[in-house]
Amino acid sequence: MSRENKLFGDKAFELLKDLERSSQTIPAFDDDGVRQVLEEIKAIFEENVAQASSYNSSGDRSLWPLLNYRHAALQRNKRCLLAYLYERSKRIKALRWEFGPIIPGDIKQALCEPEVQFFNNYSKSLAAYMCIAGCSQGQGIDLTNNLRPPKSLYIEVRCMEDYGKFELDDGELIHLKKNSQHYLPRAQVESLVRQGILQHIA
């Protein structure tokens, strides 16, 4: 056993520390870190198996504490890894609610392939659920809309960036140019406000 791997479990903890430090949006998936932890787990497991089998044949209990310690380290690594993945999946779910069905490119780069898959599946399930939820009215309900009770049908908004054309439900086309102001139906522009393209001013 080499001395430099000291107490075990430090790498796995590092993963979580980096994740915590990065506040809300998601940091890049740490491929390398995860692989190192998996390797550590494998190494511990193999050593333990070797020792356990020698214990079975000789019945020598003197190495028992060591076996115990390594087993705890293995469990610890596993817990850290799973918590890392779980926390990321929680943030990915939040992305769907906050950013809508399309992830901005730079955030997408931070996800690994299975995570993109997970996002797509989650998005699909949510869409399917929203269809069923409004079934009695004959159409789906967008659950990401109307997060606060609406006080008026129309709201005044200012455009924060050049967005381009935007078509309302009745077919009217609106040019959303930076700094232009509009009086628009609340229900149709809420998501644009949430995404920071429009600002609600009155």
């Binding site: 479990g9 949006t25 060591l66 779980y86 939040a94 730079d106 606060r148 609600h200």
Partner: protein, 208 residues
């Protein structure tokens, strides 16, 4: 904030990463790697080593291998608790997870005071916490004053207070930009100005 931490709780993992000082009771073969000052491969009895909580937790309280010694911070707080002066303690400096760490250590405390100490400390401080939360978060934000749980309570208090005031003034009706999006935009802006600072035509610039 988690009194019954689940398996995935990152906070609980942070707490259990803390090191506890232990005394070795028996010779433990080939475990010398736990002791930075050890010469041989084995762990000799009588030595004091720091072990992570996640390992201690797995052992029985009165196991034959190690004796856990309770950190001094809890002894030091004891006096303040008796004199009801805990609001002045910089709890965050003593330990960032004062309460949760203490909870894990209670079984190892032979005098059975830690449990009472952390309970009393919280009881005496929570009133003060309420006061500073009402103060709109303007209290000289010294992070060392509060431990992890208290910081969270403080944040929740400030947030609730603002929401209540917004409701009273009827200003909460506007649709707001989502917090995640806002943070993301700020970050992008920062990156962008960094890129221009480098004066390199960056291909990294992201379009929506």
């Amino acid at each position: 904030m988690n009194f019954f931490p689940n398996y995935y709780s990152i906070e609980d993992i942070f707490v259990t990463q803390e090191k506890v000082e232990c005394k070795v009771n028996t010779k433990l073969q080939r475990m010398g790697f736990l002791d930075a000052g050890a010469e041989g491969d084995d762990l000799e009895p009588g030595r004091s080593i720091n072990l992570p909580l996640w390992y201690i937790k797995e052992l029985k309280v009165n196991n034959a291998y190690f004796t856990v010694s309770v950190p001094d911070i809890y002894k030091n707080v004891h006096k303040a608790v008796c004199e009801a002066e805990t609001t002045h303690i910089e709890l965050g400096r003593l330990h960032p997870y004062f309460y949760e760490f203490g909870r894990y250590l209670t079984p190892y405390d032979r005098n059975h005071v830690i449990g009472r100490i952390i309970f009393e400390t919280m009881r005496q401080r929570v009133r003060h916490l309420l006061d500073i939360s009402k103060n709109d978060g303007q209290m000289a934000k010294s992070e060392l004053r509060l431990d992890n749980i208290e910081t969270k309570l403080h944040e929740a208090g400030v947030r609730t207070n603002t929401q209540y005031i917004n409701w009273l003034q009827m200003t909460g009706n506007k649709i707001l930009i989502s917090e995640l999006v806002e943070e993301h935009q700020k970050k992008r802006k920062r990156d962008r100005s960094d890129d221009e600072g480098d004066s390199l035509p960056s291909s990294k610039r992201v379009t929506l």
